[in-house]
């Protein structure tokens, strides 16, 4: 089976030989000689999910469109493309051990936080047998869990938002973290470890208070992240007006009836449908 297929397929020039087209601007032509242009260093992303395909084509420009419809992001390349200024940092690598009959088995657990310091932050935790694998995996998981962070004002609404909009609290394990709006210039008043997460989120001033066993820094960091996730979940008077529903990207960019999502009325779309 392998022989025949191999000879039939032509020379094995490597992956993607002859697949340089597609998404390169000449999608109008069905066939043609244009086959080259494959990069050697960075492997081209082949999207797996429908959302990935839409992002790759450029139908979705901002990650806010994904957040608006609560679509699950399953590919980290989506976030890489939509949030360009994403920086990552390894917060800690700790060994975790498991007792087996043949001694102890040590694996490494990596905590990575990613963010663009302007309202998007993600936290990834990965265990692996090697440190490099754990870090790589944690970066991918952190990108998959990028969430938006809502910022607001402490008092006068002058300038850009700089603090959390209201008092929010997050919990993980026994650790609860409470964030309180702070006036401009206060800076981030928090322990060293959650301060890093808040810096990546783009919050300039905040007062924090924590409770529980904050020695378990893994839970501490996750509690802070949970707290940041809740900033957009808090109903404030700005959201009291009726929501104008818009079509999900799947409905907009297909001409036929897609699978209907729960409770979404198909109303006047704000973007024109591309052919």
């Amino acid at each position: 089976m392998a022989d025949r297929g191999g000879q039939r397929g032509g020379d094995r020039g490597g992956f993607g030989r002859g697949f340089g087209r597609g998404g390169r601007g000449d999608r109008g032509g069905r066939r043609g000689g244009r086959r080259g242009g494959r990069q050697q260093e960075e492997e081209k992303w082949v999207p797996v999910t429908k959302l990935g395909r839409l992002v790759k084509e450029g139908r979705i420009n901002k990650i806010e469109e994904i957040y608006l419809h609560s679509l699950p992001v399953k590919e980290h390349q989506i976030v890489e493309q939509l949030v360009p200024g994403l920086k990552d940092e390894v917060m800690k690598i700790t060994p975790v051990q498991k007792q087996t009959r043949a001694g102890q088995r040590t694996r490494f657990k990596a905590f990575v936080v990613v963010g663009d310091c302007d309202g998007h932050v993600g936290l990834g935790v990965k265990c692996a047998k090697e440190v490099a694998t754990a870090i790589r995996g944690a970066i991918i998981l952190a990108k998959l869990s990028v969430v938006p962070v809502r910022r607001g004002y402490w008092g006068n609404k002058i300038g850009q938002p700089h603090t959390v909009p209201c008092k929010v609290t997050g919990k993980c394990g026994s650790v609860t973290v409470r964030m309180v709006p702070a006036p401009r210039g206060s800076g981030i008043v928090a322990a060293r470890v959650p301060k890093k997460v808040l810096q990546f989120a783009g919050i300039d001033d905040v007062f924090t208070s924590s409770r529980g066993s904050t020695k378990t820094l893994g839970n501490f960091v996750k509690a802070t992240f949970d707290c940041l996730m809740k900033t957009y979940g808090f109903l404030t008077p700005e959201f009291w007006t009726e929501t104008k529903y818009v079509k999900t990207p799947f409905q907009e960019f297909t001409d036929l009836l897609a699978k209907p999502t729960k409770g979404l009325l198909i109303d006047a779309p704000t973007e024109t449908v591309e052919a």
């Binding site: 089976m1 392998a2 022989d3 025949r4 297929g5 191999g6 000879q7 039939r8 397929g9 032509g10 030989r17 697949f19 597609g22 998404g23 999608r27 069905r30 066939r31 086959r35 492997e43 081209k44 992303w45 082949v46 999207p47 797996v48 999910t49 429908k50 959302l51 395909r53 679509l71 699950p72 992001v73 399953k74 990552d88 390894v90 917060m91 800690k92 700790t94 657990k109 935790v125 692996a128 047998k129 090697e130 490099a132 694998t133 790589r136 995996g137 970066i139 991918i140 998981l141 869990s145 969430v147 470890v193 020695k215 378990t216 820094l217 297909t254 001409d255 036929l256 729960k262 052919a275």
Partner: protein
């Protein structure tokens, strides 16, 4: 996994999407290459069970089974070309076409053997079949015929689907039963066509395969975090991978895809499929013989991406509406064959069986 997995990786595009190949080709899209002109397939089998339009070919996989000594076996995956039927699993159909085992042709074992030795050495195992098939031809003619057939087979394999066979072997007599240019049925819808080449999956398990992310991991970074001993991160235990939008099964699926990001299908006869979601229905038993079905191959999402990219963006194009992550194909574990070969053994020695297909969709909610 102990079973080794073969990956179907994309090769060159076909110059013409409707061009003919032979039934030993593995390709995506295009026109199905039936082994003989008259297959005896009922027209309803080639029509969508929901809307009745003609099915178009998604994948044609030449899949011989070495253990059971079946050389001539092809699997055709067909789908309805209307976008409305796309999301529904009943619009897909899988046909397994194989030669019944009691009639063996000379072509089956002749592609590698050099048949220049003459008839005695090559025709010994297939003597009775030769008598059945070619009774009139005497020894001299048979020698040249068999030689030419073997050369044709070898040439077909090596060529790029262009019909260069005849020009290469001008010595061969013309009366060889070479693939005839069948009347192309223009009413069959056709997807963009490209050929497949195989590769074995080298999956190093955990840790040795690099991901497709372009992040470079600096040793200095590791040392910095290791030296920071002001706070002890206490009480950490092993934690499974978790992401907001993806569960563990999908993350594992994506990891194997990232190792070979262009894989169009995975082939592992009797192996374990790579799941994308945890829910999987029971494949059931074979419709013909009742024996249980086992996994054979699965189509992967890069395939629908490539077909979508090759489309011309019209709204009537089926692959643009596909949202599946993987399509898993189960075939009869006994490779049964329809025993309706009574009468003339020369004409109907190909059995067609319909197999089971399970689609794993990308759930948005």
């Amino acid at each position: 996994m102990a079973e080794e997995v073969h990956l179907g990786l994309p090769g060159p595009w076909a110059a013409d999407y409707r061009e003919k190949a032979d039934h030993y080709t593995t390709k995506i899209g295009g026109v199905p290459d039936w082994p003989t002109v008259d297959m005896g397939i009922k027209p309803e089998t080639l029509q969508c069970s929901l809307c009745g339009t003609k099915l178009c070919l998604v994948a044609q996989v030449h899949a011989p089974v070495a253990k059971l000594n079946i050389e001539e076996r092809i699997i055709y995956v067909l789908v309805c070309s209307t976008p409305q039927c796309g999301p529904k699993p009943q619009s897909w159909k899988v046909l397994r076409v194989q030669k019944c085992r009691n009639v063996m042709q000379t072509e089956g074992g002749g592609d590698e053997l050099g048949q220049s030795n003459g008839p005695p050495s090559t025709s010994v195992p297939e003597e009775q079949n030769d008598k059945n098939k070619i009774p009139e031809i005497d020894d001299d003619d048979f020698d040249l015929d068999a030689l030419a057939e073997a050369l044709e087979q070898a040439a077909t394999l090596a060529s790029n689907s262009k019909k260069k066979n005849k020009s290469k072997h001008a010595n061969a007599p013309v009366k060889c039963p070479v693939l005839k240019e069948q009347a192309c049925d223009p009413s069959i819808p056709v997807l963009p066509c490209f050929y497949i080449y195989y590769d074995k999956e080298l999956f190093g398990g955990k840790g040795t395969v690099g991901s497709s992310s372009s992040e470079l991991v600096l040793d200095k970074e590791i040392m910095d975090t290791a030296n920071d001993e002001e706070e002890k991160w206490e009480g950490e235990k092993y934690e499974y991978d978790k992401a907001i939008g993806a569960d563990r099964t999908f993350l594992k699926f994506k990891k194997r895809l990232d190792a070979y990001p262009q894989q169009c299908f995975r082939y592992s006869y009797g192996g374990k499929p790579l799941m994308a979601t945890t829910k999987l229905q029971d494949p059931g038993t074979c419709r013909l013989c009742g024996s249980p079905r086992h996994y054979e191959l699965q189509l992967m999402s890069p395939l629908s991406y490539f077909l979508h990219e090759a489309g011309d963006g019209s709204s009537n194009y089926a692959p643009s509406s596909w949202t599946w992550l993987t399509v898993i194909i189960y075939t009869c574990s006994k490779n049964c064959c329809l025993s309706s070969c009574g009468g003339n053994p020369q004409s109907c020695c190909w059995g067609v069986a319909e197999e089971e297909i399970l689609i794993q969709e990308d759930e948005v909610r």
